[in-house]
Structures are given as C-alpha cells and as structure tokens.
Symmetry: C2
Subunit: 206 residues, 2 copies
C-alpha cells in the first residue's frame, strides 16, 4: 500500500483561525509566477484552491518539473528556505487559477511550537516531497524519454480523472526537461503504436 497520496491539513478550528489572522490571501491566474528562483522567502504559501507546479531551472534556461502542490498543501521548500533565511532554489507557477494563503515565517515557527498537529502536517509533506523528488531522480537518471512521457501523460490524466489531456507539446517538453521536437516525435510514435490519439492541444489516452 502507498502512503496517503492526499495530504490534507486537518486543522483544528483554532489553527484555522490563527492562519486566517496571520495570513494574507492572494489570487493567481494560470501561468502566474508565484515564486522565482533566488528570491528571498519571508512567508510560506498554503494552497487554498487550485494547484501550483514547482520547477527547477538550469542556468541556461532549461526547466524540469519537480512536483505539484495541490489544494491543502504547502511549499516545503519555502518553509525550509524561510526558516533558514535562504533563497529559493525553485520556481513556482500557478497551474490553474489558484487561491493562496501566505503565512509569515515568524508565525509559522510560532504555530509549530503551539500546535503539534501542524508539525505532523509538515513532516508528512516533507516525506511526500522527498519521495516525489526521488521519483524524478529515478526517471531522469534511468528512464528513456518515451517511457517518461507516457507516464507523465498517464499521471496527468489520473489527476483530472479524464482520458483527455489539454496541453501543447511545448508544455510537455518543458515539464520533462526536453524540447518540443522530441516530444512531437515520440508522441507520433506513440500514436502509431496505439497508445494515444493526438489532436491540437489535446492528447487522448487509449
């Protein structure tokens, strides 16, 4: 059995109240950049609705998807970075329209001391992120592009509970850390082999 894939912050009414008191809520549109690399962090985000994708960027502009932050989750990198007064090593982008609550770092430390559930929440998140990162390492180090691409499509489809995925090849390429031509080529091959059906802005999993 897998560890719970969905980590919800089952907060007591007290914490909710505190969070609402300490935090500032902001809205983001799809594609909005929430956090840039190398920027200082002084608050941690909790995703109230929507989802965020966290990318690692290379010096020469190439990117790769690390993981998604879904509704109810927080960005653990921010948390660590914030606590140790470090800069962000990743970029966070709104995957869809999202509502995010920002909690100042000092308040976070405070909450940890006061509410043990909060600490548990953070440990769970860490654990999840760590495993996701290991999966990325695994994929990049040992898997071929076609397998990674197919896995990625499957995962995305599972997430939206649909057989249709609405993305461009360019987007897929970015998230997998490669280029459009490669994705197009592999997708065509996959279509030929009967794994998918292609359309403009659309991939149907068979």
């Amino acid at each position: 059995m897998e560890i719970d894939n969905f980590i919800e912050f089952k907060s007591s009414p007290q914490i909710r109240e505190k969070l609402a008191e300490y935090g500032i809520s902001k809205s983001f549109k799809e594609g909005d950049i929430i956090l840039k690399e190398n920027s200082y962090i002084n608050s941690i985000p909790i995703v109230k609705s929507g989802s965020i994708r966290v990318m690692r960027t290379d010096e020469d502009g190439r990117e790769i998807l690390l993981y998604y932050i879904k509704s109810g989750e927080s960005c653990i990198m921010s948390f660590l970075g914030g606590i140790h007064n470090d800069t962000s090593k990743v970029k966070a982008i709104a995957e869809e329209e999202s509502e995010i609550l920002f909690i100042p770092i000092e308040k976070v430390s405070l909450l940890i001391k006061e509410y043990p559930e909060w600490l548990d929440y953070i440990f769970r998140l860490y654990h999840k992120r760590f495993e996701e990162l290991l999966e990325v390492v695994n994929a990049v180090a040992f898997k071929k592009m076609d397998e990674r691409l197919l896995n990625f499509i499957k995962k995305k489809c599972e997430l939206t509970m649909s057989h249709n995925l609405y993305v461009t090849h360019e987007q897929l390429a970015k998230e997998l850390g490669t280029v459009r031509v490669v994705v197009s080529r592999l997708l065509k091959q996959m279509e030929f082999e009967g794994h998918v059906k292609l359309g403009r802005n659309k991939i149907t999993l068979l």
Copy 2:
C-alpha cells in the same frame, strides 16, 4: 553565502544522555550495507563517526548516488519513513569504517516534543538533503557526463583534502549512474586534456 555546509548536532548534555540511553550503537566496515531498499524502518541512525553514502537503486540494478551522511548527521529519509511507518526508498552503505547510533522511532518523537533544538536539527538536515537532491536532479537532467564526472572527482577530493582519489572506474560509474566503459573513456579524455592523471585505483587531480 551558502548555508552552513556542516550541520552538527549541538546537543545539550541532557539530549546526549537521552540518546545514549535510548540508542544502540553499532559498527560498520567499509562497504557494509546499513539499510536496504524496501526494508521497514524502526529506528533512525545517527552517524557518530565515519560516513554513509545513500544510493537510489533502479529496478534493473542501476544505482545513483544521492548524498553522503557525514559524522554528526542523521538519515532524514529514515526519519520520515519511520515516522510514517513506510519502507525505505533508498540504500545506505558505509563509505568507510563507521560508528552509528540507532534511536528507536518512538523515542525520536518523544525527543522532538521535549527538546526544540532537536527539531531544529532535523529541519536543518531536511533542508540540506533537499538541496542536495535538487543538485542531483540538476546534474542528471542537464549536465553531460564529463562535467558530472569531473565535478564528482573534485568534490571527493575536497572532502578528503587531497589531490588523490583512490577509486576504481567501476565505483565511479556506479555512483554516477552509468557504466565503467563510459567512465574509462571520459577519464582518458580528461587525462589527455590535462585535468587529471590516472593510475590503477587512483586518480590525481591536477
């Protein structure tokens, strides 16, 4: 500036005492396997002396180095896994002769509640490991083998404060997630370019 590269567990005498009381100390020789993939975790290791290398293994036997656990540090993966009653996703091997203190998971949770410094220690470690994992992702996703190899050799040399590295090409290949032939080839090229000097079981950085 970088965040402190050396994370020491500056424990109060009280914690040291508790640790000695709760923990079991074991010795490992170079190459001993401390933790296998998929094994259940019921205690977390603290490295008293020596160092451990943590590897990720693929289903078909290929491996890649994730990071080292040095003296004074703990294995954060174990900690998370242990707390959530999960199995290990990584393999840990003694890099040299090492002395390790194993603390049962229940006691760890207890210590966290009692001693805030301990929590801080854990957060620091997490942060460090996270950044190291990001570096691995970066390297594997975007760097070419020759660059990775040279970086790896440099890092190893820094660690031992020497210009000589005593490893076989086979070992290097394992840690970088490739095969011996590739390493030999690249090393020869690097020797030709004057970056290193090669010997049997020995690489000298110039």
